[in-house]
């Protein structure tokens, strides 16, 4: 606990010790931790394997651009608004894709993302198929100087990832968290125990869409330029995110964090290889899925019993000595 607070304080003070490039790299890392944690919530906890989360990254980004370019709104206000609108969109999307199950759900979400991408390229006021840039005047207006803008964007990224992790931990510690794990392990058994399966699934789907769109809006605020292919990229926002989660450890909060660090470490050293790098990443993910399906963090937990976020539940029988939760001293 103390350690996490110290680490968080050190990261929040990064503008004091890091250069502009460091802050940008860290912001990217935070964004990927957030996206991967959200995908992990869907797939690892709720059993909803989606390969179409780029739908919400892109939607959030496009909503931000629409508010800033068409309504002249400050980008800072547009970020949360993007999340809220995307959540409403997710409710109607859920009505369709939840008719598909398992593998078919996965591809159904991908089709939704494709539909969003094709629709975005039809909107000519936002640049159509070739994309558009944010007007410089409105971006400059968010902070008094360029340096403060960098700082501000960095703190937003940090706040987003902390908020996303807190949201996930709170959700999982609530009644819904237990319900979600029950659904993942057996829908039938969960339903028999009185869990409203559909309600829980739709809830987690919509919450994930909200947060994913918020993160997406931030990512493209930092990039300053949007195009349908970049905003709805299946490689950037789903393939990488899935590989990160699988490599780090699916079904554990710590997994996506470890996975993102490994992913960026590999990227910084191997990015020159280009396509070979992607090829290797795919191969590593396959090997981990088959040989160590719980990922790197899963191996660490098995070996050392560490746990950063208190989420494991153990049965306590009244009158008997309480069972020790793993990780407790």
């Amino acid at each position: 606990m103390v350690l996490s607070v110290v680490a968080l304080a050190a990261l929040a003070a990064a503008p004091l010790w890091g250069g502009r490039d460091d802050l940008q790299l860290l912001s990217q890392i935070y964004a990927y931790i957030a996206l991967a944690s959200l995908w992990n919530l869907l797939a690892g906890y709720a059993g909803l394997v989606s390969v179409g989360q780029q739908a919400y990254v892109g939607l959030g980004a496009y909503i931000l651009f629409a508010f800033v370019i068409l309504a002249g709104m400050s980008p800072l206000w547009a970020i949360p608004l993007a999340g809220i609108i995307a959540a409403f969109a997710a409710v109607s999307v859920a009505g369709l894709v939840f008719r598909l199950r398992g593998h078919y759900f996965a591809i159904g979400t991908w089709i939704i993302a494709e539909v969003f991408r094709l629709l975005a390229s039809q909107v000519s006021v936002l640049g159509g198929g070739s994309g558009i840039s944010l007007p410089a005047a409105l971006v400059v207006a968010i902070a008094p100087s360029r340096q403060w803008r960098d700082f501000l964007e960095y703190w937003i990224a940090l706040a987003l990832v902390v908020a996303v992790l807190a949201l996930i931990v709170l959700l999982l510690r609530s009644r819904y968290g237990l319900a979600l794990k029950a659904i993942r392990d057996s829908e039938l058994a969960a339903a028999c125990s009185g869990v409203d399966v559909m309600r829980a699934k739709v809830l987690v789907y919509v919450v994930t869409a909200f947060a994913t769109a918020t993160v997406g809006a931030f990512i493209f605020l930092q990039r300053l330029r949007i195009s349908p292919d970049a905003a709805f990229s299946v490689n950037d926002w789903t393939a990488f995110v899935i590989f990160i989660t699988v490599i780090g450890g699916i079904g554990r909060i710590e997994g996506p964090i470890v996975g993102t660090v490994v992913f960026f470490a590999l990227r910084q050293t191997l990015a020159d290889l280009g396509t070979i790098y992607l090829l290797m990443l795919g191969a590593v993910a396959i090997v981990i899925m088959l040989a160590a399906p719980k990922g790197i963090w899963g191996l660490i937990v098995e070996r050392f019993g560490w746990q950063v976020f208190p989420l494991e539940r153990s049965v306590v029988v009244k009158g008997a000595p309480a069972a020790k939760a793993p990780g407790e001293p």
Binding site: W110, S121, N235, I276, G282, A283
Partner: protein, 289 residues
């Protein structure tokens, strides 16, 4: 009026190709409940194999089927035996993630070897041959051939599935793996044969795709989506339904493209979503999941 008849007719002919994309997907889902996310990329791989075969052996694309089909079937058997069989089980995550990883690997491997340049197979005089059905409505020999082959492929799969010992093994394993094994079937072998058959169909689809239009390493996922939409529109588990699904998709895209070139793909997706909203079990459902 003839304008629209023409549009719909061309849509139907393209739909045959989509039905072939879908048939292989439908087959392996039916037998082992596996959705192969790399399906589209395997179609593109087949197109590149045809390209290499025609270039090195100096034969036409249609003759190259004699090489590409067995080759893809062998790849399918090996892939299932060595990799995908290890992912099968109650958990749906491993097969999904492994085929997803496979998709990224195939795409980037093709990109490394063949670059991102757009290519096309030349089939010679057959490409230009057209027949006049009646005033204003023409049909190309190649699209017609492609459609006839698609119907023949679906018919052949139907025959294999319901009239042969292999098909009986497929259906038995699909119904109950444990009992099928007790009856002396080797599931690993049966699954590998199903994948081999699926990739044989993929090979035919890939070669026709490569003759009909330009292709590059990145177009696989869209082919997977077309095939998937055809399967859902037609109804799970029905091969003839899959053919109809392909036709519906082809016609919807043709109509969309005729209204506005930017609407071609969107119209296909909208047709799919409409069917999903109104009749989620598809037009001709055979199995319920």
């Amino acid at each position: 009026m003839t304008d629209w008849i023409n549009v719909i007719f061309q849509g139907v002919l393209v739909g045959g190709l989509y039905a072939m994309f879908a048939a292989g997907l439908s087959l392996i889902f039916g037998v082992m409940r596996l959705v192969n996310i790399a399906h589209g990329d395997l179609i593109v791989l087949a197109a590149y194999l045809a390209l290499v075969t025609t270039a090195t052996l100096g034969i036409g694309p249609l003759v190259s089927l004699l090489v590409v089909v067995p080759l893809m079937a062998a790849i399918g058997y090996a892939l299932q035996r060595l990799l995908l069989n290890r992912t099968l089980g109650d958990d749906l995550l491993p097969p999904l993630l492994v085929t997803f990883g496979l998709s990224v690997i195939i795409q980037n491997a093709l990109l490394t070897v063949f670059t991102a340049d757009s290519l096309k197979l030349q089939a010679g005089a057959i490409e230009q041959a057209t027949y006049r059905l009646f005033d204003g409505v023409y049909v190309g020999l190649l699209p017609l051939l492609q459609f006839v082959v698609a119907v023949a492929v679906i018919g052949a799969l139907q025959f294999v599935f319901y009239r042969t010992a292999l098909g009986r093994a497929f259906r038995a394993t699909a119904d109950n793996q444990a009992v099928a094994q007790l009856m002396g079937l080797d599931n690993r072998h049966v699954f590998a044969l199903a994948m081999a058959l699926s990739l044989a169909v993929v090979a035919i689809a890939g070669v026709f795709l490569a003759i009909r239009a330009n292709f590059d390493p990145s177009i696989g996922p869209a082919r997977l989506i077309f095939g998937f939409e055809a399967v859902i529109i037609g109804g799970l588990g029905s091969l003839w339904g899959t053919l109809v699904g392909g036709l519906v998709l082809g016609v919807a895209q043709a109509i969309g493209a005729h209204l506005d070139p930017g609407w071609q793909l969107l119209a296909g997706h909208i047709a799919f979503l409409l069917i999903l909203a109104v009749r989620p079990e598809g037009l001709f459902p055979r199995i319920r999941t």
